[in-house]
Subunit: 238 residues, 2 copies
DNA sequence: CGTGGTTTTGATCATAATCAACGTCTGTGG
DNA sequence: CCACAGACGTTGATTATGATCAAAACCACG
């Protein structure tokens, strides 16, 4: 029992600098351990929730990577994000107590299940947790603004450059390489996220490789010239 | 003084079914009157906040209409939303205590200023307000998912059809006509929101008019065949 | 009653989508 | 361990969609 509690404790989690406990002191940290109801393993291609399901919990990613996906009535499929360790899934479900998208694991993963009523109860007691929950939701809103800018006003090369830079930056914040990354998603999923067809993603990656900006071997990407990528995203600031 | 307090009270506001007080009982309603610090008039083209400014408050729209706009470093301009009475502006500012976009009035407007520390303090006391704040943020996340679907996978006609239906539906919820609307924004602003150029917006509107789906006179639009618009947005469900 | 911002429309062009074929990797079962 | 099937990825040729460039008309507002 104690062992179990220790296992699922935020206070001993290696992600505490990235996840829910950000900004909490030692005392608060202990109290929010109660926030996590359980851990859940998720195999590749499985989902932790799907559109239409009742919303009960938020999910903090411990290991692995997910995509969130919207499927419209007429079968259109839109990837709305790729999430990695320390990021929170399920915020879409709060408004109507139903999830409005699917969260699918791109590799075998593990999540912490945080029943939302506990999150709300604890946020009423711990001001810094309340503040943190607000910041997490606000961050998601700001992230989506950025995606709107990308989808609304960038060309294919700019979109892919922005995507690669964003991924590698987030991976680097988690201790991975600043220049090498493994794409856990298919070209089609990247395309869906970026509003491009898979052929365009493939061609654009090939072009980057031809230009010596990246090296691509299937899903392994090495960013050779990050500056070139940055100047693609932001032409004037070149 | 009393007069002033009555003026800025949520409990006597005609928008209480749409705005912050949704779902609160009479007692709670009185208590959240304190949430509104002041009212503020905003002239057309003026902004209530801009990218980079310190975040202190959320703003509830009492009258008028706004756009939120992202300006990237290289001058790219993306409209991220159009907001009307009862909707909340400023959520983007929470995460870093700085606003990340501009909120510009499209017509002379009025907003209620809600200092965010008061919002947080009251949410700790009034559970249903806490819940409501969470729902407002979640709703914004879900709305943005929908915009991503639109920008990522719809063609020009579909985008414009979805835009018109969304606008008229929100106006109707505020007591306006189900079929007639006035566009408070320019073709360029519509285009920016929809990821299209202003010429494409204009042409597409003209095509809808030719097809007898809408009547357009400058900024006055009459939706003649809402069903046709719906089947454009959602081809299979025709 | 101009003047400038806005809108419409036309002609042409650029970008990415589509259609198609082939190559390559992965994982599974013989 | 190899062979095979199926998913995934690349590349080429062509087309469709919306962008761009341009000019004129319209309107609102001072």
């Amino acid at each position: 029992m104690i062992r179990q509690n220790i296992q699922i404790a935020c206070s001993s989690c290696s992600l505490r600098e990235l996840c829910m406990p950000v900004g909490l002191d030692a005392d608060e940290l202990q109290r929010i351990d109660r926030i996590v109801g359980s851990r859940q393993k998720v195999k590749r291609k499985e989902s932790i929730f799907q559109n239409g399901e009742r919303f009960t919990s938020l999910y903090a990613i411990r290991t692995g990577m997910f995509k969130t996906r919207l499927v419209s009535e007429d079968g259109r499929d839109q990837v709305t994000g790729f999430q990695m360790a320390g990021e929170i899934l399920g915020l879409d479900g709060i408004v109507n107590s139903r999830h409005t998208c699917d969260a699918v694991a791109l590799e075998d993963s593990e999540v912490c299940v945080m029943p939302f009523d506990r999150v709300e109860a604890l946020s009423r007691e711990i001001t810094s947790l309340q503040r943190h929950v607000h910041r997490i939701m606000s961050r998601e809103i700001v992230r989506e603004h950025g995606v709107m800018l990308l989808l609304g006003s960038m060309r294919a090369e700019e979109r892919l450059a922005a995507f690669l830079l964003n991924l590698v930056q987030r991976l680097h914040a988690r201790g991975f390489s600043r220049s090498e990354l493994v794409l856990r998603m298919t070209r089609e999923e990247i395309g869906s996220y970026l509003g491009l067809k898979l052929e365009t993603v493939s061609r654009t990656l090939s072009k980057f490789a031809d230009d010596g900006i990246v090296e691509v071997q299937h899903r392994n990407v090495r960013i050779v010239d990050a500056e070139a990528l940055r100047s693609l995203v932001n032409p004037s600031a070149a």
